[in-house]
Assembly symmetry: C2
Homo-oligomer: 251 residues x 2
């Protein structure tokens, strides 16, 4: 029998001073998280850290023990502030040098005359790294054990996830159902808390929103068990009707 693990988890490490300084809005977490959901992997922690070798080594070493998968983003480009590959090599006590396959891919991509020292740097990786191919701009990412190193540019990162999909062994897929209401959280807090209390293996989240000048609350039910979600959904709809709260979408 092919058993599916109940729970497979992951963490993301965003390496980049530009995110910490507020200059750049990260959007990679949402991209990776949604992709992981589809694969049955639950994202359980994100860290944003600076381009400092010790921070990278310490963070990666801590998280690779705690989670099934760790994804890093950023710091694998050609410039002096791209220090992820070297730092990951140190984290794993591996030597750092040219990866033949990456070197050959990049040499073909740029042509021999344009394959300068900056571009060659992108072929330097921890020894024994296996590549994550890059269909949009040549330079590959890489994998060492359970650590997957991806670039920081969102469009490039996105284009590389497809090729990774069959390398990730997920658990049961996390399903969700959302109910949006014309109400405020404090009106439903008590009933919702009671339902969460008796619903095991279901996560009920409550999120206020302000949309087109109207306020409301979205209730999100998440679980790997569709029946549990449906049961929970019915209970919520039942108290919502009893309280004469309007549902958005009208179901």
């Amino acid at each position: 029998m092919n058993k599916t693990k109940e729970k497979v988890n992951a963490a993301i490490v965003i390496i980049g001073n530009e995110i910490l300084s507020g200059r750049t809005q990260d959007i990679n977490v949402v991209t990776i998280s949604k992709w992981l959901n589809e694969l049955g992997v639950k994202l359980e922690e994100v860290r944003v850290i600076p381009d400092i070798e010790n921070s990278i080594i310490k963070t990666v070493n801590e998280l690779k023990k705690k989670f099934n998968y760790v994804f890093t983003t950023g710091g694998i480009g050609p410039t002096h502030d791209d220090i992820t590959s070297k730092s990951i090599a140190k984290a794993f006590n591996l030597s750092y040098g040219y990866n033949k396959e990456a070197y050959s891919i990049l040499e073909k991509y740029y042509g021999k005359t344009k394959f300068n020292i900056g571009r060659k740097k992108m072929a330097m990786m921890p020894k024994k790294a296996s590549l994550i191919l890059n269909p949009s701009s040549g330079a590959p990412g890489f994998v060492i054990n359970n650590v997957y190193c991806l670039p920081g540019v969102p469009s490039i990162l996105k284009s590389m996830l497809g090729g990774l999909t069959n390398k990730i062994k997920g658990g049961k897929k996390i399903l969700s159902k959302t109910i949006s209401l014309h109400t405020v959280e404090s009106e439903i807090a008590k009933s919702l808390g009671e339902i969460q209390h008796k619903s095991k293996k279901v996560d009920i989240g409550s999120y206020p929103f302000f949309r087109l000048g109207k306020i409301g609350v979205s209730i999100v039910i998440r679980s790997t068990d569709k029946k549990k979600i449906d049961d929970c959904y019915k209970e919520i709809v039942s108290f919502v009707k009893r309280k004469k709260i309007n549902m958005i979408g009208g179901k």
Copy 2:
């Protein structure tokens, strides 16, 4: 003499399953980070963690020792998944109960008849908490030592930062200057690396971009010392001209 500390740092803890699940795009990091820059506080780490008591306690206890300031966002609302206040109380070994001032603010805000159990929950805080007033929706945040607890809703969070400004003692303000070029990173990597190597107390970041179908690189120079930024800027402009690379903005 009123000495300004050279370096004051901070971390943000985003508490929220909705960020980890990819359902919600965080924008609070950029807001807080830019506000901290203005105050001379450097954001050095961000963690996104789930609505789980142990995760909150462990993370906050670790970061409050490592950083001058810790800001948490999320989990201080009225519903069952809002567990930040209680968890912070446990992290500090403080009792958890009604804060008289918060209770009175909320009672006035909602009126006695509408001050239900969910709303009352928002007045529960660790003992000795001092309040962070909320000009947009009543419910206050709170401070315990160097830990500042803010809500997750971006517009409310933003409205509360103004009232905090004079409570934060920053260091020297971090200044920055950006040069945007029509080039690719690998063309400038070597020269930029050399400049970074000899420029102490200056951080040079290199960020590729794709804008209106054109590719380019933004170089960001950051330091607390304006003269060092200016010197670094001149050196970069000099090699950029030598290499006949076009600057965007034409300076």
